[in-house]
Symmetry: C2
């Protein structure tokens, strides 16, 4: 029955020896995975493989053996000898390569536009041109974005193979024409796009979410849902994916999570903390005072366009002198409580607010490590305070886990959550 039909599964193959020595990070795989996911295609495997023909061929056979209906490859379409994808794909499909003369002329016209190629020998250029115009018999050649055409090939009794160039800009530009090719649309016609929901929580450990899921699963059959939980930047992200028809179960799960973690659940509509703060800060002005985070909070809040409307400014006050002179933190306060103390964090928040004429201020001071920790104030101890002109004050001084980078990053996330709570009036 059609509601029970198998998921359409795909494999992604990204070629490039440089990816396997860790020198370069693949950007195409995740991009393709996301596009396929949106189309309701389940990616079974994403394989990075070097420029060795045997390894690429083995990967294609492996994916076909897994029953994927669609294989998307990236890379290996250039003019040099280590660009082998087209040949390997033709061999995999059991068809010959043929010169596509119209494509050869099209590539020649493109190459003629590159002035730097004037240094090359005409023979070398012709060979490169011809190599890129070889097309497996029966394949659809996709117009080049750079100099390399893409390919869509329906393998007899096997998957549809979509061959795309490696440069991310070319790959992305070629994607729509690849997906609207007849061989691809016939695969996509069999997909049923996923529905999905994403929940975000802050201030609850992952293991407690695991316990919640187990508990809910005892009274609600969650098997139609694919639930992924992960910890990201000190927040828990729960992704729920399902086929159409399981909405009631999904909503039941979301309500059960809300019932147990109302205070920690801050997003059910896909918005991130950054999204929410950008909305909450509209029409306000905020001043920042950072010690151990060294500007990270300011950098993150100014990531998005338009943030200059609400980020009045920030002070990175590493030294005590900077704290007293630029932020007006009383010297006595630092002497009495130490530079890392809730009292100083609060004075920093107030100081930033006044300095920048802002309606809210944030102060962060802590021990990011790896040195500088004491028994009373260990590495990871961070004092964070948000104050507003209306007299609202929300402060925390957790000991955060992780290395220096993680402590700094998490401090920023905690500060942003405190700010969110103050601005939504949920502070306590």
């Amino acid at each position: 029955m059609s509601a029970e039909k198998m998921n359409v599964r795909a494999g992604i193959v990204v070629t490039g020896t440089e990816l396997l020595s860790g020198l370069v990070t693949d950007r195409n795989g995740p991009w393709l995975a996301q596009r396929l996911d949106e189309l309701g295609v389940e990616v079974a495997h994403l394989v990075l493989v070097g420029d060795r023909p045997a390894d690429l061929a083995a990967t294609l056979r492996f994916l076909a053996d897994q029953g994927v209906e669609l294989i998307v490859t990236s890379g290996g379409l250039g003019p040099t000898a280590d660009d082998v994808t087209t040949e390997v794909v033709a061999d995999f499909a059991g068809v010959e390569l043929e010169l596509d003369e119209a494509m050869e002329r099209q590539i020649a016209a493109i190459l003629a536009r590159f002035r730097y190629l004037a240094h090359f020998s005409p023979q070398a250029l012709r060979a490169a041109n011809r190599k890129q115009a070889m097309v497996p018999r029966g394949a659809l050649a996709l117009d080049p974005v750079g100099t390399a055409p893409g390919l869509v090939l329906q393998v007899d009794g096997g998957p549809t193979v979509v061959v795309l160039p490696g440069p991310p800009r070319e790959l992305r530009a070629m994607w729509p024409s690849a997906m609207s090719s007849p061989a691809a649309t016939s695969v996509l016609a069999r997909t049923r796009p996923f529905e999905s929901a994403r929940l975000r929580l802050f201030g609850v450990p992952e293991s407690q979410i695991a316990a919640t899921l187990r508990e809910v699963g005892e009274t609600l059959d969650l098997t139609p849902l694919e639930i992924t939980t992960c910890l990201r930047r000190a927040e828990i992200v729960i992704d729920i994916r399902h086929r159409p028809g399981a909405e009631a179960i999904r909503d039941g799960l979301i309500e059960a999570i809300r019932a147990r973690h109302a205070r920690q659940l801050f997003s059910t509509d896909g918005t991130s903390l950054d999204d929410q703060l950008a909305v909450l800060l509209r029409g306000r002005r905020i001043g920042l005072a950072e010690s151990c985070t060294g500007g990270l909070l300011a950098a993150r809040l100014t990531e998005r366009p338009g943030s200059s409307d609400y980020v009045a400014g920030g002070v990175v006050a590493y030294s005590n002198t900077a704290k007293t002179e630029l932020l007006g933190v009383p010297t006595e306060l630092i002497e009495r409580h130490g530079a890392v103390s809730p009292e100083v964090a609060r004075a920093m928040a107030d100081g930033a607010r006044h300095r920048f004429g802002a309606s809210a201020g944030v102060g962060i001071t802590g021990v990011a490590g790896p040195g500088g920790g004491t028994e009373a104030k260990p590495v990871g101890y961070v004092c964070i305070c948000v104050t507003t002109g209306d007299g609202a004050v929300l402060a925390r001084d957790p000991v955060l886990p992780g290395d220096r980078a993680e402590i700094r990053d998490r401090s920023v996330t905690v500060a942003m959550h405190l700010l969110r709570r103050v601005l939504t009036g949920a502070a306590r």
Copy 2:
């Protein structure tokens, strides 16, 4: 060829459904690939696979069929039901899972340190604890860094499988003990490590480096070298790898590049710009004034421990008021030249230097976009200035390519290069 025969090949398997929907970008695969590469192990395939046991099992069999001698997995060791790696690996190896009671106690002791777990039911905790203490018969359990132990397992007649946790910090911390396990060292004993060198250049286009490599290749046979060139954070990174014996060719290439790009080549010993600045700034104090980069420069300079010795502080001065009041930029200067101008960048640098009593100051003001560009000052136009108490001034006002994030990131890199030139006395 004997060099081929002696290669030890490995496969990397990174698990996590979230990686296959493109929601999360894998950081472990490239890190592991780099470590294996350094050890002289050739990575044949890097496979991202979801949390489905059958897909993971098929991947392990595929890699074994390819004849890899080492498989490294990441992820799937958590306490929840979708964490299946240990079970699948045991099944792949054809061995039973056994409760490791010492490990169970060790995990219990770790869990006891987490105060928040006191809210949990003892049963749920015990189940999670026990699940993580199950070890395939014959495997070596590696001490947990978080709560999950790693595993090293020699498959009978097959590869050595190293099972590591998914959180990057835990994976990295566990790596040395995994690689010093008997089953791993016996594989590594058969490798011949690569030699490598890394060159970094700033201020030269990638196509010019390609031309240089072609030119050098006409008089020097570069075939024993594997050369990878990539553009990273506005710098060109050239990686040269080779087997022992090709050192003279490598050094010849490096000298040829130095001869052609002496001014742009800033690192041949592997040090990064950040490394070099950390050394150059020792014993000095720097003050920062940032507008469009919003704190990113301060955040980057304070990434490393000990940076509080030389980063006196910074001001994120988005608004004109902040520029005049906190940095002493004259209002007339802003009115006459605009907030984004070389004049204001210089006044910001001077202001930061004076404000923080520093020996050097950096000012950055620009149009990060996507809005706010004009014909005269388009998006990407950034004015950067470094000044010192000795009267040195080095300024640039490039139009940087890319989106908002890239423009901000590149502005920081340019500022750091200017600072490096001033501090090395190479300024001009």
